[in-house]
């Protein structure tokens, strides 16, 4: 080989590149092989479906290179990521374009294998071998400088995360720190090497690249190649079924441990609890630490905020569910008694045969907040509705808690029983007070011909249709979005409109999809009372940001949780409407 276009310093890079490409190829095949058969079919089909194909292209650029979602959350971090990712991409792309425009290479003409071999490192080290045209020289230098500004922000973020608007950053292990250091130094080395042509720096540059590539599969930077695959799989509409296989595996490796979910997580009120955030959950799964992963999965409140803020759109809650489902709890629930209930309920006349128009299912939690039930009753009376309370004397659980613990079959038994009871009533509408119930009724029940509404939506409808007359007072309310109503179903406007028709609405510091879990969530098994209290206090402070007179929520669990720690009165939305009913 002509020594003019070869120098031994390119070898570390070539080796690293060969390793990482092989690794990624094997990984790709493995993930695709692990997909259940149906999912795999769906995946292939999605690649050729125009709609998903377009979405794929859009997100591959928008997410992988620019990360539009980070820009939206935090422009400084957005710039940091884009400058490095896009800048590097441009260096490689322009380098390759150059490869074809600079033909032949400075008086050398190699062909065949040698040519291919040369091509793979030439764009990376070309300056040692050739001089480019001024336009290319400018472009290459420009993007190199752009990358270095990005790295500068990254260094600042590491030292004073507060300066870039981040409170808590992800804590890393040895390999992650090492590769980060390699990434930070690659570009300054390149700059020095290119400008001075000192051999030592070309070696350092190449070795740095090798370190980066060899560590890549074992660190968070694996997100670079994996995210592309994840985007394709996500657009194919797949769901995680097992905690560490197929689609879930793609998600695990796509997690860049960027830590945006750490500041978002309601548990990040102290250092110890912030270790339970999704970034660490994904890390534990990646490191095959299933014991810790299990612990975090059981500790999580399942509020879904991390999913909401995740720039990569990783469905960490789904993975946590599958992690829970993989645990052998020995509750093989015996629910044979459910049969007895339905007959008893009918005998005692709790399930009416009058075919009421509206069926109200309070749910177990609402039994502990009788004020909500009473308010609902008064509201339905005032609106002249034909209604019936289905579980006045205690009913069957909706099944959500069973699902939360990963017991799908057991939950099904309850769901079927409830479905039977509800269908028998002949009602046209089912109103629920508890967002936990609402979620499961919406997602798991098949109640054809019966409209399912949360009471916020129902009351909103009653007011708008004129059935319910209310007076507007001058109390300043702040509304807390229950996780399972807001983030899960986007029910943000109806409750706010209801509140504005009976009083003034003040904003909380974090609202709607960013609302902070009250801390009472049934999703978590492990959190202790004290830990929950800390979460609640933080959430209350957030709500009190604009000094409202009252906190309003739409979930019996949030209500009970806030009532313990709130400096002002906490009421359910039904209660405040009830207070303002026109006499």
């Amino acid at each position: 080989m002509n020594q003019y276009i070869f120098h031994p310093f390119v070898l570390p890079f070539v080796l690293g590149m060969a390793f990482v490409l092989t690794y990624c190829l094997v990984g790709l095949l493995r993930i695709i092989a692990q997909l259940p058969k149906d999912d795999r079919k769906q995946f292939w089909r999605s690649l050729v479906t125009p709609k998903t194909a377009w979405a794929n292209i859009r997100d591959l650029f928008g997410d992988c290179l620019f990360h539009v979602k980070i820009w939206k959350r935090n422009p400084i971090l957005g710039y940091m990521h884009s400058s490095i990712a896009f800048g590097w991409f441009m260096l490689i792309a322009i380098g390759h374009v150059m490869l074809f425009t600079l033909k032949p290479l400075e008086g050398v003409d190699v062909q065949g294998f040698e040519r291919t071999f040369t091509n793979c490192y030439y764009p990376i080290f070309y300056k040692h071998f050739a001089t480019e045209t001024p336009v290319f020289a400018f472009l290459m230098d420009f993007f190199l400088i752009v990358i270095i500004t990005g790295i500068f922000i990254a260094v600042v973020k590491k030292i004073y995360s507060g300066m870039v608007g981040v409170k808590r950053v992800t804590k890393f292990g040895f390999a992650d720190n090492m590769i980060r250091f390699a990434l930070w130094t690659i570009f300054p080395f390149r700059l020095v090497a290119e400008k001075t042509n000192i051999m030592a720096f070309w070696w350092l540059y190449s070795i740095d690249l090798m370190i980066f590539m060899c560590l890549l599969p074992f660190t968070r930077y694996m997100h670079i190649p994996t995210e592309a695959l994840f985007i394709l799989l996500r657009h194919a509409g797949l769901k995680a079924r097992e905690p560490r296989k197929g689609f879930a595996l793609a998600q695990i490796y796509s997690c860049p441990s960027c830590g945006l979910c750490i500041d978002a997580c309601p548990m990040s009120v102290n250092d110890k609890m912030s270790d339970n955030t999704s970034a660490y959950f994904m890390k534990k799964l990646r490191n095959k630490d299933s014991e810790e992963a299990q612990r975090i999965a059981e500790t999580c409140l399942m509020c879904g905020k991390c999913v909401m803020v995740c720039p990569v759109s990783i469905e960490s809650c789904d993975i946590k569910f599958s992690q829970r489902a993989a645990t052998p709890y020995n509750i093989n629930s015996d629910h044979s008694y459910l049969d007895v209930i339905s007959t008893e309920a009918q005998r005692s006349g709790e399930i009416s045969v009058n075919n009421p128009h509206v069926l109200y299912f309070a749910g177990c939690m609402t039994q502990l907040t009788p004020k909500i039930m009473r308010a609902m009753k008064q509201i339905m009376e005032a609106a002249g509705e034909d209604y019936e309370f289905i579980d006045k004397d205690g009913g069957i659980c909706c099944g959500r808690p069973m699902l939360l613990s990963g017991k799908t079959a057991e939950a099904k038994a309850m769901i079927e029983k409830n479905t039977e009871l509800i269908k028998k009533s002949g009602a046209k509408k089912l109103v629920l007070s508890c967002p936990i119930c609402y979620k499961v009724f919406k997602e798991e029940y098949h109640l054809e011909g019966i409209e399912i509404q949360h009471h916020t939506q129902y009351i909103d409808e009653l007011i708008k249709s004129g059935k319910l007359q209310v007076d507007k007072g001058d109390v300043n309310y702040v509304y807390h979005d229950p996780c399972e109503l807001g983030r899960a179903f986007g029910v943000y406007d109806e409750p706010r409109e209801v509140i504005e028709s009976v009083g003034n609405l003040r904003k909380a510091k974090s609202e709607k999809e960013l609302s902070i879990c009250c801390g009472g969530s049934l999703g978590s098994f492990n959190l202790t009372q004290q830990e929950r209290d800390e979460i609640t206090e933080n959430s209350v402070n957030d709500l009190m940001f604009n000094h409202p007179d009252e906190i309003v929520t739409a979930c019996p669990l949030c209500l009970k949780t806030f009532a313990r720690k709130s400096p002002v009165q906490v009421q359910d939305i039904a209660e405040i409407v009830c207070e303002k009913l026109k006499k």
């Binding site: 059981e298 645990t327 052998p328 709890y329 020995n330 509750i331 093989n332 629930s333 015996d334 629910h335 008694y337 459910l338 007895v340 209930i341 177990c364 939690m365 039994q367 502990l368 205690g394 069957i396 659980c397 808690p401 069973m402 939360l404 613990s405 017991k407 309850m414 009472g520 049934l522 098994f525 492990n526 959190l527 202790t528 009372q529 669990l557 009970k560």
Partner: protein, 103 residues
């Protein structure tokens, strides 16, 4: 004194020979378990307890008296709704304990 025969087996809980392995290991991960005042709130509010003999208070006692099998049988009625945890005046994380027993 042992006469070598008896009319019927003793109905006493034999506290001298009770096997507390499960309870003790449970206590390590859930120190709250000792703080129960047996007020019965958990049982009274229990969704499953409306229709079955499910009672967390008794499950706890069963474990302390070495009736582990009986306790595990009772847990099968649980719906995991978490209402017990919500009402417990001692703030015991009951649902977690139930899951831990069956793990």
């Amino acid at each position: 004194m042992d006469f070598g025969f008896c009319l019927s087996p003793s109905s006493h809980v034999k506290m001298d020979s009770v096997d507390l392995t499960t309870f003790n290991s449970l206590k390590e991960t859930n120190p709250d378990i000792n703080t129960c005042i047996a007020c019965g709130s958990c049982t009274a509010t229990c969704t499953a307890g409306n229709f079955t003999e499910m009672s967390f208070r008794r499950i706890l006692l069963m474990l302390q008296r070495g009736k582990e099998e009986q306790a595990k049988k009772m847990i099968q009625k649980c719906m995991l709704c978490g209402k017990c945890t919500l009402v417990c005046p001692r703030g015991i994380n009951i649902r977690k304990i139930l899951l831990d027993i069956t793990r």
